[in-house]
Amino acid sequence: MEKNRNNYCQRMLALIFAATFTAVMYVNQQALIYQMGLKLKTNSDIYTKLVDHNKILVYNVLNLSSPVTLERRLLAKEVELSMPSKWHVVKNDHSPKKVVLNSKELAKKGPLSNLFAKGR
């Protein structure tokens, strides 16, 4: 009788322990999910912020390199670009096939230099 009662108590205790353990594990899992979600969200927010910032910078670069803006800026500095007159053009029948510019020379070339010859 006493033995049965002990067995019964042990089973009950085991059950209670198992149920408690499962519940704790479940809560732990939920906490981990939340933590991971928070981390992902933080990373995603940083990523989105960087992408947005990048897009705004791209827009600024496009705006600055826009022919309309360049024209306005050049006119503000009283620099007028015009097509070359005949006397601006030097015709060289024996020119080398390709002129290789070094990086310094390339840096000097303006964005419109291949389109217009500068003249006042």
């Binding site: 991971m36 979600g37 897009k55 791209v58 705006n63 826009s66 022919p67 309309v68 010859a117």
Partner: protein, 569 residues
């Protein structure tokens, strides 16, 4: 019942049983009768539907330079219930946002849980507001359509409203491709209404909008806009437009209008400024339309270039009306009739063609019908059927009166002469691309329709070259490139129905170089002042654009040919 229980305990027990029974009944009632609405109320308290906005597609020019992009900007909103000291908050916020303090205070005083304070503010302003750290102020990201080139190509591109719906131009025409499909995320929120991360139980991702690749070349567009603007301001015109087209494919390389507007701030511009005059406005073309009369006369062999016409020394009375030339001429060969733009010579020549044959060519050149360009608001123009023509109509139409056209129709017509006699369909969109880059739809150039023979087209090119070389359009001459074209100066019709002597439409339509045309250029100026001749107002604009285009296309100038004498019969 157990022995030994007192009546009082029994009463308590009965009361408990009754209470429990009532709870069970209530539970059954709730579960069977009101489960759905109550469940919905509960869901609305902890569920959160987050709208996922798609990215609107990019509009590129033909060289894949961005003409319209979307950026995410921060919008600031407030929950007035959570703000304790509204006056202090209004003072701080108005300083950070650059808004009026009274207006901000008024917004914060509303009996609402959500109030917009500022939408799509600059990152600096958003940072300034965030640094205030005011409880009840929050932020949301919203996409903003921006146009890096400002006014450039604004009429072709159009613009969007605050919710990113296309309202004008290509933004409107291709809105269903550009806007994409919004998505949703159903998330769980906590007691403080914040989204609980990691508990999304349903997510439908947004589909980003497709990208458009245009035929417009932003450099050509910039050149056209610059020169149009110079002409527009110099001659105080009411309006103006320029079209630059590839005469072989119909590709629109530039489409510029004045007055113009900045699509980044479209609402501030009057509706008149936003009208795409190149396709939405029709006008009497005047002498520019003589290219149609001349082409049809030559094609039908009703006249030969050397046939002579007496131009009545500048004044000719016919059917009760007196017609004038702007310069008095005697006998002129037909080619010189066009070269000097003689109205009298043209009307005499047109009579040899007859109204039915002339009408056939007007239709063949595409007048009176939409060209089918992928822009909203295109109009037909007016060409009446010969059955309704008066005795004067044949002559009037040959001179470009009693007929109305659009600039884009003129561009197609002059392109037909430039490319050897084929009428091309204008094309402004090359293809639609998915955001991954693969083409969804490609708009190939439509097969052109032959209008006149190659021989007639060549003859016309020679005649139009003489117009620039020695005729009414000498101000369009470009040394070394030999452009060709036709001037037009049309009187506008006053509201009382008579031709105005104060209001004119000055036009020049042409191509360059004349022997191997690369570009067709149409320049229209509406009501220029004080000078109103197409050869003086529009031809120089053509010359400037053509010159810069030649440099851009790296076409070398040629040596001038030996002086040639055109044979006369």
């Amino acid at each position: 019942m157990y022995k030994g229980t007192t009546p009082r305990i029994r009463k308590v027990l009965y009361a408990l049983i009754l209470a429990f029974a009532l709870l069970v009944v209530r539970l059954i009632f709730v579960q069977l009768g009101a489960a759905k609405p109550l469940s919905d109320i509960a869901s609305s308290q902890y569920k959160l539907a987050v709208s996922l906005l798609p990215k609107r597609g990019v509009i590129y020019d033909r060289n894949l330079k961005e003409l319209a992009i979307s950026i995410n900007l921060t919008s600031v909103f407030a929950d007035p219930f959570k703000i304790k000291d509204k006056e202090l908050a209004a003072r701080k916020l108005s300083a950070a946002l650059g808004a009026g303090q009274a207006e901000t205070y008024q917004k914060l005083s509303r009996e609402k849980g959500f109030v917009w304070l500022a939408r799509r503010v600059s990152p600096d302003k958003a940072r300034a507001v965030a640094s205030l750290n005011i409880k009840g102020i929050d932020f949301i990201k919203e996409p903003q359509r921006v146009y890096p080139n400002g006014v450039m190509a604004s009429h072709a591109l159009g613009f969007t409203d605050i919710d990113n719906n296309g309202l004008e131009g290509l933004e409107l025409k291709f809105d269903k491709y550009l806007k994409g499909i919004p998505g949703w995320r159903y998330a769980v929120r906590d007691a403080k209404q914040r989204e609980v991360p990691g508990y999304n139980y349903k997510e439908i991702l947004p589909v980003d909008g497709d990208n458009l690749v245009l035929t417009i070349d932003s450099m050509v567009q910039a050149l056209a806009e610059k020169e149009l603007n110079n002409g527009f301001e110099k001659y105080h015109a009411k309006g103006g437009c320029v079209i630059v087209m590839d005469p072989y494919t119909g590709d629109i390389l530039a489409l510029a209008n004045r007055p113009s507007y900045d699509p980044n701030n479209a609402q501030s511009a009057p509706a008149d400024y936003r009208r795409n005059r190149a396709i939405c406005d029709f006008f009497e073309p005047g002498s520019s339309f003589k290219i149609v009369a001349a082409s049809s006369l030559l094609e039908e062999k009703a006249v030969r270039p050397g046939d002579k016409f007496f131009c009545e020394n500048g004044e000719y009375r016919w059917c009760g009306h007196t017609y004038h030339d702007h310069t008095a001429h005697g006998w002129l060969a037909f080619r010189d009739v066009i070269k000097y733009s003689s109205n009298i010579g043209t009307m005499k020549a047109a009579q040899k063609l007859g109204k039915d044959r002339f009408y056939k060519y007007i239709k063949k050149f595409g007048f009176g019908e939409k060209t089918g360009i992928d822009l909203p608001g295109e109009v037909n123009g007016v060409t009446r059927h010969p059955g309704t023509w008066s005795k004067l109509s044949l002559c009037s139409i040959a001179m470009g009166q009693e007929v109305t056209v659009t600039a884009i129709q003129l561009a197609c017509a002059i392109s037909a002469l430039a490319n050897g006699g084929n009428l091309v369909k204008p094309r402004i969109v090359q293809r639609i691309e998915a955001c991954s880059g693969h083409a969804i739809q490609v708009f190939e150039p439509k097969k052109p329709q032959r209008v006149i023979s190659e021989a007639t087209a060549k003859e016309m090119r020679d005649i139009l070259r003489s117009v620039v070389d020695d005729g009414t359009a000498q101000l369009a001459e470009l040394e070394g490139y030999f452009p060709a074209g036709k001037t037009g100066t049309a009187q506008k019709v006053e509201p009382n129905g008579v031709y105005s002597h104060r209001k004119f439409t000055a036009s020049f339509i042409g191509f360059v170089p004349y022997d191997n045309p690369k570009f067709t250029i149409v320049v229209i100026m509406d009501e220029p002042r004080p000078i109103y001749y197409g050869g003086v107002v529009s031809a120089p604009v053509f010359k400037k654009i053509a010159g810069e285009l030649m440099s851009y296309a790296k076409i070398q100038p040629k040596e001038p040919p030996q002086p040639r004498r055109l044979p006369t019969r």
